[in-house]
């Protein structure tokens, strides 16, 4: 199983600023994903972080708002840009060793973001 860490664990930010969240996996993985989870809600996929190419975004999420980097097989960042209170949420990264429907996805502990 993969062990995933995220930094920061929580932050309080001002409207209009940006925050970059880091995700580190303890082993090389093929797939890395970024999710958003509103309090008491389900997990919504933001994008798939592709190593060496642009991220693949889900409907409703755009690169200008959520730029993602993945410079290698163990690390990814998600930036929440020009934040508004509606961006207050928990952001989780996940990783899977292989690109396969039977592959287990492991989740990081999440970053709790509050935008004032």
């Amino acid at each position: 199983s993969a062990v995933i860490s995220q930094k920061p664990s929580r932050d309080i930010c001002q409207r209009g600023t940006s925050l970059t969240i880091q995700c580190q996996v303890d082993s090389q993985v093929t797939m890395m994903f970024w999710y958003r989870q509103q309090p008491g809600q389900s997990l919504t996929l933001i994008a798939t972080a592709n190593q060496g190419s642009e991220a693949t975004y889900e409907s409703g999420f755009v690169i200008d708002k959520f730029p993602i980097s993945r410079p290698n097989l163990t690390f990814s960042t998600l930036t929440v840009s020009n934040m508004s209170p509606e961006d207050s949420s928990i952001y989780l990264c996940s990783a899977a060793a292989r690109q396969a429907i039977q592959e287990t996805q492991y989740f990081g502990p999440g970053t709790r973001l509050l935008v004032l």
């Binding site: 199983s1 797939m31 994903f33 389900s42 996929l45 989780l92 429907i101």
Partner: protein
């Protein structure tokens, strides 16, 4: 397409059983079950791949029906540690979607002494 979970919430006494269902209008490639405790990351429980499959152990097990449109999670003789929100995730196949998950809305399970 988001799978639908039922019930939305369950309250149990220790030792009681529960069943959580996850349904889809289309056949799923696989179903992944997770449990999330408040303030923590979702924790993987199990994956089901084949129609008619059942897996797990005596206390926590799951099934996948023949048409692969419904999965059920069975919690037997519940313990306090079972409390949390349970999510099913439907895996996608094909192109760049391969391996990503779409989660149901979650089922809140509360176990009381």
């Amino acid at each position: 397409q988001q799978p639908v979970q039922s019930p939305q919430a369950v309250i149990l006494r220790e030792g009681e059983d529960a069943v959580i269902n996850c349904s889809s209008s289309k056949a799923l490639y696989s179903v992944h079950w997770y449990r999330q405790k408040h303030g923590e990351a979702p924790v993987f429980l199990m994956i089901l791949l084949k129609g008619g499959e059942q897996k797990g152990h005596e206390k926590i097990s799951a099934s996948f029906n023949e048409k692969k449109q419904q999965s059920s999670l069975y919690l037997t003789a519940s313990q306090l540690s079972y409390s949390g929100t349970y999510f099913c995730g439907a895996a996608h196949a094909g192109g760049t979607s391969y391996g990503k998950l779409t989660f149901g809305q979650g089922t809140i399970l509360t176990v009381h002494p």
